[in-house]
């Protein structure tokens, strides 16, 4: 079982301080990068599926040249190798460009399954995974809560979260699965894993190494632009209530009535 996990280094939201550059792009140098949370669920699912057998997990990222620092964490968790597509012209790529580059990179890899996180904490569009599936003509199995590949039959079954429960989807492999938190909590890298990650390979590719078939990609081809950015209007000062429960409850109810919520 060969699984490619799409992975994006994103600014650590917990660290705060994300900002835009003068060109209205995310200033990726301003904040430490971490593995996008939804991609960690995807990676965890991939590790669980391969640790029993002789599978191989490749993490694929399109990111700035310092991304190997972040990709090492994925390798320490249990991925076998990394592929990084990095090129200064890719800075400021939009989602379509990102999907095209990742699809072109996947064309150079062998896989049974491609996993993508449901969305990223920085862009958050949630469209790159479906876009990659469409570009490669792969079956798209999204919002997965459970993934069950059957190598003998060459099929994969996925529980897709639905508004009322879940739908069971089935498709031939290779296929692309969009992963959610419902797949289970990601493991922390073990010390052994961290040591092993140091010697695992991260292959770097530039745009020139990929066959994009003439599709426009990169910052210069971005179809979207930021016109302006402003801090959101500050919320009014917090009203603090320190009273016994029944008095506090009456004050909450009065407050809700005042705001015409009840």
């Amino acid at each position: 079982m060969r699984i490619v996990v799409l992975m994006k280094p994103v600014p650590d939201t917990a660290a705060g301080g994300e900002r835009l550059t003068a060109e209205m792009r995310l200033d990726r140098a301003a904040v430490p990068a971490v593995v996008n949370a939804n991609d960690e669920y995807a990676l965890e699912a991939a590790i669980k599926l391969t640790e029993a057998g002789d599978g191989e997990i490749t993490v694929l990222a399109m990111a700035p040249s310092n991304a190997p620092e972040t990709m090492r964490k994925a390798l320490a968790m249990g991925a076998h190798r990394g592929v990084l597509v990095t090129d200064s012209s890719l800075e400021g790529s939009d989602t379509l460009s990102t999907a095209r580059v990742l699809a072109a990179a996947l064309e150079t890899l062998e896989y049974d399954l491609v996993f993508a996180g449901a969305d990223t904490s920085d862009g958050g569009a949630g469209v790159v995974g479906p876009g990659v599936a469409a570009l490669l003509g792969l079956p798209l199995l999204s919002y997965a809560a459970k993934i069950e590949p059957d190598e003998t039959a060459g099929q994969v079954r996925v529980r897709r979260i639905s508004p009322t429960g879940f739908d069971v989807l089935e498709a031939p492999m290779p296929a692309l699965v969009v992963c959610t938190q419902a797949l289970g909590e990601p493991r922390y890298p073990s010390l052994k894993g961290i040591m092993a990650a140091r010697s695992k390979e991260i292959v770097t590719r530039s745009l020139a190494d990929l066959d994009l078939g003439g599709q426009a990609v990169g910052g210069a081809a971005s179809g979207t632009k930021v016109l302006e950015s402003t801090p959101p209007p500050p919320r009014a000062a917090t009203r603090v209530v320190r009273e016994p429960a029944d008095v506090a409850a009456d004050q909450v109810v009065a407050f809700l009535a005042e705001r015409r919520i009840i």
């Binding site: 705060g16 569009a125 909590e185 979207t224 959101p232 919320r235 209530v241």
Partner: protein, 325 residues
Amino acid sequence: MARSIWVIAEVADGKLSRITTEVATAARGIAEQAGRDVVGVVVGADPGKPAEELARFVPRVLSVADPVTDGHASATLLAERVAALAADEPPDYLLLGAGPEGRDAAGVLSVLLGWPVLANATGLGWADDGPTVEMSVFGGRLTTRNAFVGEHGIITIRPNAVTAQPAATKGAVESSNPGGDAKLPSVPVVESVAEAGAAAPIEEARIVVAGGRGVAGEDGFKIVQELADALGGAVGATRAAVDAGWINYAHQIGQTGKIVKPQLYLALGISGAIQHKVGMQTAETIVAVNRDPDAPIAEFADLLVVGDLFEVAPAISAALRARTG
């Protein structure tokens, strides 16, 4: 043919999804300024009813019957039908909801049409002959206004970004058959399973009562549910509560869960860490009950009750019931 903005409908169980009525309302909001017609597109095995429903919101609806959508994951099929329609009668912009279906379809459409995507709009405007899209980014630390570089694009709109309003007059429904073969693989649904506790329409709820680590267990969520019932709201949860197995993932609000924008967000035993804050900070009113007056939520709640949620929440429920008699 007049230039147009298309609203791509989501249909669930044969009915038009609420998000689509909001997207349609947002589209109408910019139509006049844009000088564009708003056209709804409904694709389904039996599109008649949802198409009629969408016609209450937009002047013209294209209704596309596609039997394959029954029993298959529909986003890819929907995207291919819409792309085929767009080849016959090209729109300028496509609008979809920013939920799972809308995102899947937007991602596939982006590739099929070669159009860019602006995602998770919290507001829509029009300037320089193109739409402007407001977004909340970086955990709400910034609000950006964005535009397309060219003359085409796809926009996904967050639930509750606008309040759905039917149009003054009902629109016309036309059957349409765009033809064209489906090229992308369709994925069959082999089984649909209903799960207790899975139905959590928290993104659409006007009031959300949510519990975090402080709720301390499955039993604690009964108190959260009781208060939600008293307020006529839905139950939400933090990742910690979901990871602990106290409540289903469908209820999770935050970075790896759902983004909600209710009129009232009532947080019980929630510290307000950034990963949760990003999912609820655009709520109109935030009320928190927390033992720790220095919890991060104290900085962005409108009202903070410093106290034990196991005492305060039932007291609020009782006070609400007493009020309504």
